[in-house]
């Protein structure tokens, strides 16, 4: 009777599953750190995660005055005046009215992106008050109005920016509320030579 010839050794693996000859498995381990997606989803603007979340007692000056029932001529007006150094005009570069909202984000607004990889160098601006300085961060600091035991107060908080924030020429600590008073001068860098713009908080 005809017997089937035994196959040579090197073809014996034909048709077998490759997994049989895997040297070893990679041990699958869990990852308990957050991926950042949840944070991005809860607080973002144009796909960029915002660093600041407003506190529970945040209130805008307009809402506060409405609550007190003040008439228009009796209301306090809050303003941020920005001066540029070495300006021939000696006048303010820009004025921002701070009465309408409870929170104002200060950051970089150059008009073009610092990222050289982008083709059109379009800049995504998330700041409400834009400062055209390369040394300022995209989210540098925040000006926040709060209702503190019935009194409206204004605070500034540095959002852990790269170059820090100065209040009246003193470097303020990061991620901490510092109260602002009328006439306070803010600059967006610890180094004096980097400061071309001064932000002056006013209430009249």
């Amino acid at each position: 009777m005809f017997h089937r010839r035994k196959r040579p050794y090197n073809t014996r693996n034909y048709g077998h599953d490759d997994k049989k000859f895997k040297s070893q498995y990679i041990d699958i381990m869990p990852d308990f750190s957050p991926s950042g997606l949840l944070e991005l989803e809860s607080n973002n603007k144009e796909g960029i995660a915002l660093k600041h979340v407003e506190p529970q007692d945040a209130i805008s000056p307009d809402n506060y005055m409405d609550m007190l029932g003040l008439e228009a001529r009796d209301r306090t007006m809050y303003e941020l005046v920005i001066y540029r150094k070495n300006d021939k005009d000696k006048g303010p570069w820009k004025r921002y009215d701070l009465n309408g909202r409870s929170c104002y984000l200060v950051g970089r607004e150059l008009g073009h992106s610092l990222d050289t990889d982008l083709d059109d160098r379009t800049e995504i601006v998330v700041a409400d008050i834009g400062i055209p300085e390369e040394t300022s961060s995209k989210q540098h600091c925040v000006i926040q109005f709060r209702n503190v035991r019935g009194i409206l107060k204004c605070y500034v908080m540095d959002l852990d920016s790269s170059n820090g924030t100065c209040l009246n020429n003193v470097v303020i600590p990061g991620a901490r509320y510092i109260e602002l008073r009328s006439g306070d001068v803010l600059t967006l860098s610890e180094f004096e030579e980097d400061n071309d713009y001064e932000l002056i908080f006013m209430n009249v």
């Binding site: 381990m29 869990p30 990852d31 308990f32 957050p34 991926s35 997606l37 949840l38």
Partner: protein
């Protein structure tokens, strides 16, 4: 609207309010839930963050590719109290995370031998959330040993 919501609506129309008469009662012996349609960038930490809203998770298994370790988009989670599964299934179905709507259902989970180290790591991490009698004694002793 998915099928689970349809079933829940039918039960409400029929006047079924008791947990014993609900369709959830079929799964009263099991505290695992299946979580599908996950964004593949989510980690075990994210899943625990979202699902801790309805109870204490005591086990989590995010299915990962055995060659690359990347997430495959579905997971299993076990609650300490079985009734938490009802809350999670009813409330988080269709909930959007990372742009994708979750699919959640009761399920039976069968452990795999190849994931033994994974289970040990998860158990070690989640045991820190639960204080048992032995753990309480250890914590008290540890506090006494610490200098003030």
């Amino acid at each position: 609207m998915n099928k689970i919501q349809q079933i829940n609506d039918k039960e409400l129309q029929s006047g079924i309010l008791s947990p014993h008469q609900s369709w959830h009662n079929e799964y009263k012996d099991n505290a695992y839930i299946y979580i599908g349609n996950l964004n593949r960038e989510l980690t075990e930490g994210d899943i625990l963050t979202v699902f801790s809203e309805y109870g204490v998770p005591v086990d989590v298994i995010l299915s990962r590719d055995e060659n690359t370790g990347e997430s495959q988009g579905f997971a299993y989670l076990k609650y300490e109290d079985q009734r938490s599964t009802i809350l999670a299934v009813d409330n988080l179905n269709g909930f959007k995370i990372g742009g994708r709507a979750l699919k959640i259902d009761h399920t039976f989970y069968r452990p795999k031998r190849s994931l033994q180290k994974y289970y040990e790591a998860v158990k070690e991490e989640l045991d820190r959330d639960i204080v048992s009698k032995n753990n309480a004694e250890k914590l008290i002793l540890a506090k006494k040993d610490q200098p003030n």
